[in-house]
């Protein structure tokens, strides 16, 4: 009992980047506990996926050729059986929307403590992980008082593995209980494209909940006009219906990589940052000096946006 099981993820024919980061994180845990790293590849083109995933650090790949897309009832049963089969000490999965859809169920049935969204781990002499608490304002080391554990890892925190591997690849004969498959995926839908493509913009003025009211958006559009920039936003602005969905930057919105990204009244939650950390220059205007946006910003003004934004607009008029 010292092996690690990492459950990879794919969607609509492609492995997701998180799967390759998972190998790095899984390898680290396996090294800490002196064990092997096993990958689970469930549904889809499992042989092609296994080929692609056969990277440095992987000892064994188990494929389950059943169905095309993610179904949590299948993932759950396979993961539980594989963990049993290899007597896994640690199970790892990406902290993704689908990860959240089966990891807690597996952890609960197997009796593995679950720690989600970890950004660091140390498996030498017991497991200790690092995660954020209080809206990203603090970081905590968490000791897991258990021989076994299930962890989900934050996307983007571990580098993807590169080198070729020499893992054994084997089909795993999972016994799927059809009675326990009580949900069916019937299709996918994509958020429609609007009139502006924020992912093409070179300069983005991005507005968050700090703007308080819909009418206040005027000062944001005035600034954008003065800078010849495009307006994007964080999620609450779209949730409130103040801007259309295609303006949302982040995990569930768009990834943007402008030259300049001005975050106005945005705290910098991880799901927001996932969409804009690739910007060349990040500027934050936020009156809370402890807001996590300042962890990734290049420049900042810790002040009231209702004073700074109009003053900045004036500079360009």
């Amino acid at each position: 009992m010292s092996d690690v099981l990492a459950v990879t993820e794919h969607r609509r024919g492609d492995l997701r980047d998180e799967s390759f980061e998972l190998i790095t994180a899984g390898r680290e845990l396996a090294d800490g506990s002196d064990g092997d790293l096993h990958l689970a590849v469930i549904s889809g083109d499992v042989d092609d996926f296994a080929d692609e995933l056969n990277r440095e650090g992987v000892d064994a790949i188990h494929t389950v050729d059943r169905g095309e897309e993610f179904n949590h009832d299948i993932y759950r049963q396979v993961t539980e059986q594989l963990a049993d089969e290899i007597d896994a000490q640690y199970i790892v999965a990406p902290h993704s929307v689908n990860g959240l859809d089966y990891a807690p169920a597996v952890a609960q049935t197997l009796g593995y403590p679950l720690v989600t969204d970890i950004v660091d781990a140390d498996a030498e002499g017991g497991l200790s992980v690092t995660r954020e608490l209080y809206n990203g304002k603090t970081e905590a080391d968490v000791e897991v008082d258990s021989e076994r554990a299930f962890v989900t890892v934050r996307p983007g925190e571990w580098d993807a593995t590169e080198g070729d591997g020499s893992a054994t690849v084997e089909a795993f004969d999972a016994a799927i209980d059809e009675e326990q498959v009580r949900s069916t995926v019937t299709g996918f839908e994509e958020v429609g494209a609007g009139d502006v493509d924020i992912s093409e913009a070179e300069v983005l003025v991005s507005v968050g909940r700090g703007i308080e009211e819909e009418d206040n958006l005027d000062i944001i559009f005035d600034l954008a006009e003065a800078l010849d920039a495009t307006v994007s936003s964080s999620r609450p602005i779209v949730d409130n219906g103040w801007l259309p969905q295609d303006r949302q930057v982040g995990q569930s919105g768009k990834k943007v990589t402008p030259e300049v990204y001005i975050a106005v009244g945005i705290s910098g939650a991880v799901q927001h940052v996932a969409g804009m950390k690739g910007a060349e220059t990040i500027i934050a205007i936020n009156n809370d000096p402890s807001a996590p946006i300042y962890d990734i910003a290049d420049y900042g003004i810790v002040d009231d946006l209702f004073d700074v934004v109009p003053a900045l607009t004036e500079q360009f008029e």
């Binding site: 949590h72 993704s96 929307v97 959240l100 859809d101 990891a103 807690p104 169920a105 609960q108 049935t109 989600t116 969204d117 954020e132 608490l133 209080y134 809206n135 990203g136 603090t138 970081e139 905590a140 080391d141 968490v142 000791e143 897991v144 008082d145 949900s183 069916t184 995926v185 019937t186 996918f188 958020v191 800078l227 010849d228 999620r235 609450p236 949730d239 409130n240 969905q245 569930s252 919105g253 030259e259 300049v260 220059t281 000096p289 402890s290 996590p292 962890d295 910003a297 420049y299 900042g300 003004i301 810790v302 002040d303 009231d304 004073d307 700074v308 003053a311 900045l312 500079q315 360009f316």
Partner: protein, 259 residues
């Protein structure tokens, strides 16, 4: 039909705060209804308004302080509430989702709901796992990160919001736990009448023992809590808004930004 909504109170740290040992000093914390649970309550109340005979019950694992938050749910239209607590939990820095799920399941077994609505995550601890853990504990089906919900007889047709603007369409058999994503609806503000009525709606308090749940030693313990070190050395402009705006304008011009 009965809908159980899991409602959590969350803590938000002030702009300036101090860490006292392994937690943020209580003086710098403000407690409020978890944003995701606000949407879950709204979804349940909307279902009760558009269907006959729907009872909406909320359940919270929290200390007495949380009753103010619980009343917010009642003011928005939930029919009654249950609160579970044990003083032993006061000493646990980080209550893991398995423990919360076991306590919530204790209440769910008594209530026997057709549908349980949770939030995707708590804003403060952000495990994102309690709802699905609860489903597993109860042997219910589930769906995580739901941003559209239609009920038809024994099936919930949901949209699960995946990454990058893609939604998965899924049919989930009831009884089920669905974790609700923000934006699924427009949460209402409580009316004055609602707030008044909330005062007289039932709010039962139970201990784990009442529910037949035994609390084990916490498996998670904090060994440190810190403000994260800034990775990018952020350059802060200081002074009056006019001064900082001027400095920023100069920088932007250097970067080639100009209308």
């Amino acid at each position: 039909m009965k809908i159980l909504v899991t409602v959590s109170e969350v803590a938000e740290a002030d702009d300036e705060f101090e860490i006292d040992g392994l937690s943020i000093d209580d003086r710098y914390l403000t407690y409020d209804l978890n944003e995701w649970d606000d949407y879950a309550i709204e979804e349940a109340v909307q279902i009760s308004e558009s269907h006959d005979d729907v009872e909406v019950v909320t359940v919270t694992v929290g200390p007495e302080r949380a009753e103010e938050t619980i009343r917010q749910g009642l003011a928005k239209g939930a029919d009654r509430a249950v609160r579970v607590w044990d003083d032993k939990l006061d000493d646990v820095e980080l209550v893991d989702s398995a423990t919360k799920a076991r306590l919530l399941a204790g209440v769910a077994r008594e209530e026997d709901p057709d549908l349980v609505l949770s939030g995707v995550q708590t804003a403060d601890m952000a495990f994102g796992s309690t709802g699905v853990a609860l489903a597993s504990e109860l042997g219910y089906e589930w769906g995580a990160v739901v941003n559209q919900l239609d009920l038809e007889d024994d099936v919930a047709s949901v949209h699960r919001e995946l990454e990058g603007g893609v939604e998965e369409l899924t049919e989930v058999e009831l009884p089920a736990v669905l974790t609700i994503q923000t934006g699924i609806n427009e949460p209402r503000y409580a009316s004055l009448r609602g707030i008044r009525q909330a005062q007289s709606k039932p709010l039962d308090v139970k201990s784990p023992a009442d529910l037949g749940v035994e609390l084990d030693q916490s498996v998670l313990s904090l060994t440190s809590l810190e403000e994260p070190e800034t990775e990018s050395d952020v350059d802060l402009f200081e002074g009056s808004a006019d001064d900082t705006a001027e400095e920023l304008a100069t920088l932007l011009r250097e970067k080639g930004v100009e209308a």
